[in-house]
Symmetry: C2
């Protein structure tokens, strides 16, 4: 063996991989989210990790983004997916005739981006999206539904959320009222930076884009508005009577009505008209999700309303609204804040320690306990008693059963509660009760 050339075992940099105890916590988190999505009647989808390149790059007109993993195999030009939205668009377009609309789907899956790995940035990481797709006119109640969805999702993992909501039409209408349609994208980008740059710098950028001081003052009046719907409406409705602007306000009002009908908690949502979201495909409602009391950690998710999802694939106007949760970030936060303390013992729950003569009885006990739904395993097969106890400690196993010859003879079980050191001798039925 030693004369063989070894390959150093290593993992691709920036690719997601957890140690088993962390993986248990991560899967625990995912399964809780999954239950919420299902409970809200979103259907699961699991698209391939790879797609034809012309499908994935249709939006960009076929330009190869250097972040994308692209390769050929035989005659096929293939990309690893960089998000879950384009595969959704492909799926909906392909199955347009057999799906029920509005089509509500969620997907939790890995995506690939070849960016330089750095703290908090991965090349392979999970995305978690829930979207509602409709034909032509998708009602605004679905915008509210996607926002409301954060509440049970966050609650399921022991957190409270605050969703900050806006509608892109308000700013779009405002810029339109200033005849700045041609600068729209640039102006939105500046607004998106409002939290990250000093006010003076923003001021200069806006002036460079042709806004007057009065325009800028009005813009700040809009985007510095934060509060419940009535508060923001009173502050901004008089600024311009531009139709798009007023439509944006009306749409927000409708969403607000539904959020209240859906019984979303008062402190769980507010309106912040500085929210625009980076992606230009959003056309109406936009929102960002924060952990309540921890806004400084940044948005843990976001989403909004978009038009024409499948425009590159079929000649049919599909509208959608979607929400996403940054689950790898969320997991990092939960882990670093020790919010998984109660998940330390997801592995072996009952360790069975035997002696040479009682090993077979131990195997029989292990099988019985498993059959009765307990996570039982033998500890340190072949090792000394001391080594077995050490291992049980090291592995954080909460309950240990010590099986000596007397116990086997009397059909009793000596149970040790590791945290307290408490020790008791029980019948099998009492043992089961105790372990429950």
């Amino acid at each position: 063996m030693t004369d063989k050339k070894l390959v150093t075992p290593r993992k691709l940099q920036g690719f997601w991989e957890l140690m088993p105890n962390e993986e248990m916590m991560f899967e625990n988190m995912l399964s809780k989210l999954k239950v919420v999505f299902e409970n809200n009647c979103f259907l699961p989808l699991d698209t391939p990790v790879a797609e034809y390149s012309d499908i994935l790059l249709a939006k960009s007109g076929g330009d190869l983004d250097k972040e994308i993993y692209r390769f050929t195999k035989g005659n096929n030009d293939i990309c690893l997916r960089y998000d879950l939205t384009v595969p959704l668009a492909r799926f909906v377009a392909m199955n347009y005739n057999v799906l029920e609309f509005p089509f509500k789907r969620f997907q939790i899956g890995k995506v690939y981006r070849g960016e330089r790995p750095q703290k908090g940035r991965f090349r392979e990481f999970y995305q978690c999206d829930a979207d509602v797709i409709g034909i032509e006119n998708l009602p605004l109640s679905y915008d509210a539904e996607c926002i409301k969805l954060y509440e049970p999702c966050f609650n399921a993992i022991g957190l409270d959320c605050v969703i900050e909501i806006s509608n892109r039409k308000i700013l779009a209408g405002f810029f339109e009222s200033l005849n700045k349609q041609d600068k729209m994208i640039d102006l939105m980008i500046v607004v998106d930076k409002i939290d990250k740059l000093p006010k003076e710098e923003i001021f200069v950028m806006l002036k460079d884009l042709g806004l007057t001081e009065v325009d800028i003052e009005n813009l700040f009046a809009i985007i510095s508005t934060k509060g419940n719907f009535q508060e923001i409406k009173e502050k901004i409705e008089k600024i311009t009577d531009n139709v798009e602007y007023q439509n944006g306000i009306k749409e927000l009002e409708t969403v607000d009505k539904y959020l209240k009908l859906m019984n979303m908690k008062d402190g769980s949502f507010l309106y912040n008209l500085a929210i625009v979201r980076g992606h230009n495909y959003y056309t109406g409602t936009v929102f960002e999700a924060y952990i309540k009391g921890k806004r400084s950690l940044g948005a843990i998710g976001g989403g909004g309303r978009y038009d024409n999802l499948c425009g590159n694939f079929i000649d049919q106007n599909m509208q959608g609204v979607g929400m996403s949760i940054g689950i790898t970030r969320l997991f990092d936060i939960l882990r670093s804040e020790n919010m998984f303390d109660n998940c330390q013992n997801l592995g072996t729950m009952v360790g069975i320690i035997t002696f040479d003569e009682t090993f077979d009885a131990g195997i029989r006990l292990m099988a019985s306990l498993r059959n009765d739904g307990f996570k039982a395993d033998r500890i340190g097969e072949g090792k000394s008693f001391k080594a077995k106890m050490k291992e049980a400690n090291r592995r954080n196993i909460p309950f240990v059963i010590i099986l000596g010859e007397d116990e086997v003879k009397n059909q009793t079980y000596t149970l040790k509660v590791m945290q307290t050191g408490e020790q008791m001798t029980l019948t099998y039925d009492d043992l089961k009760k105790k372990l429950k």
Copy 2:
């Protein structure tokens, strides 16, 4: 829109993708298996879909198999994984110092093989493996554990299993006793084909490999043996006193003892010495899993004992034993045998039908029901009553609530059980009871 060039929406051939209703059933199956693995104290692992090529190809000495998806990105030579075993070996070697051994892990994940797509063969498909890895000497009780594991797995999805078990040492010892060590691999390959080819053809192949008629007779005496352990032992133990051969029989005897201690059902396992498994890395126990009463469907999984898992990565002898379930095949079988009949309504359970004036009340009801754990959704928002009822039927929604103005006024709910046509008017509390 119409003057835009459209890209035909299509999926990579042979890549796994289910429609949402099937995906629900598939995930339902996976989550049941997952519970069994966890209950048996196997830890979850989720390795990246891609690995450095020299890692994945270490076993083959770096030869590029044409089935493998391989590409470069920047300076990295990358392959998509073709199984879950090599990534496990890499993971264990990398984390050798921090893992507890025996290390029990399960993984359910996609793997990639660029073979020609055909019925039942995929280029992207799921594998489901459970392995136990030990340092130097892994006890035989783990071989039994992996075999026994099929029983709760199959039971969890409503099936019974029959596991056919052998030990490679028996045939290896037999061929050694004939001084055929140099032809070992070829001989094993012939034995592996015994079920697929006519006996005469096998006979010729064995003769070509240098076996005499007496040898072949003895070989057939061994491999045609099927039954419980005592039966096969009596039939074959006298054939040769070769040490390896006798060791194989002894190991089987030990595994048999543990299977009985683990309370595996009598009809759930038997010994079939024709089982060798294709992979040459198996060194001891080998087994194949069948659906009880449906052997003709072929093996739904298999596994065995192997040495030196990490031999390409670290200078440390790691032994393992593993079992795998062909879950994409299993799913196809369950689906084609209509074994998912009871899973038709995993989506929306309660459809809410409202009229213009009661729509808001319907949204409020939807939120309440969801909050109380029911999968409720409004049906056909904006459509006519008739279209709504049609949609509820088409979508197979079992319960429909019709919410008229009277109901809203009286705070009652008219529930229609779609299968029977039964209709009743209930308070919210009674509605909840009825839906449970």
